[in-house]
């Protein structure tokens, strides 16, 4: 498959999305911790969190809140607001995770609502012996608290290919 990154595609780089609310909740923290397999009670039990010095359940590493899900506005597969997550596909049908990096400015705790914007950082075309032509999409999401302070930035990379 031949694929060329056009000027029109390049023009999408760096364009900031509209902000979307992400809620850091006790239920979200417990569900994420359970999904990962944490046994540490600090992510489940308010008393254990208090003993560890946290007034609310702390968010485990990798959990930056749950995007508010609105049918028609959020992606039904990835639960993120449309316009973020693994996109643009430019016709590619297969996607793999290409890695994640996050920078935290401070810890997050249950009870916070964050405002998240997202932008396309980079597009690359690579050839793979097993997957053929790959489009590597990099995005960056910025998480801000109610005071407008940046609390975290997360870079996500996606690998698109054709079967």
């Amino acid at each position: 498959m031949d694929f060329v990154i056009t000027n029109e595609m390049q023009a999408e780089l760096g364009v900031e999305s509209a902000a979307w609310p992400y809620e850091v909740t006790t239920t979200g923290i417990r569900a994420f911790a359970r999904g990962v397999g944490y046994q540490d009670p600090v992510y489940y039990d308010r008393d254990a969190a208090a003993t560890a010095g946290c007034e609310q359940l702390p968010a485990p590493p990798g959990y930056l809140g749950t995007p508010v899900y609105l049918p028609g506005y959020a992606d039904p597969v990835f639960s993120v607001p449309r316009g973020s997550g693994p996109r643009p596909r430019y016709g590619f049908t297969r996607v793999l995770d290409g890695g994640t990096e996050a920078i935290y400015e401070r810890p997050l705790h249950a009870g916070e609502t964050l405002s998240v914007t997202d932008r396309l950082l980079d597009l690359k075309v690579r050839q793979s012996r097993s997957l053929g032509t790959m489009l590597i999409v990099s995005r960056e999401a910025t998480y801000r608290d109610q005071a407008g302070e940046t609390v975290a930035r997360e870079r996500s990379h996606y690998v698109f290919y054709e079967s």
């Binding site: 999904g35 009670p41 996607v95």
Partner: protein, 93 residues
């Protein structure tokens, strides 16, 4: 014995062994919101092509977070003493 004040670059952290099965990946899908069938549906075309359901990339990323969190938690409890290692099953919900 672990001591965060004495840890140095190059120190090895305690191993965390994960063996995620389909049930665990369904739980992770629920916790993360990533419901890509590649991770739980054996009939999903991409899973058929690959020959297996893949572990979420972010599950591996999160597991590394757990490895560090478990280590720091153990270090923290060591400094606070055993009275703070509460595993009696009580909960305040």
């Amino acid at each position: 014995m672990a001591n965060i004040a004495r840890c140095e670059v190059g120190d090895e952290l305690p191993a965390l062994i994960k063996q995620p099965d389909r049930e665990q990946l369904v739980k992770y899908a629920a916790g993360s919101g990533d419901f890509n069938p590649l991770h739980y549906d054996p009939d999903f075309p991409q899973a058929q092509e690959i020959g297996a359901n893949l572990v979420h990339g972010r599950f591996k990323y999160a597991a590394l977070g757990q490895l560090v969190s478990d280590w720091l938690g153990a270090v923290d409890r060591e400094h606070r003493g055993p009275a703070h290692d509460r595993r009696d099953g009580r909960s305040s919900l």
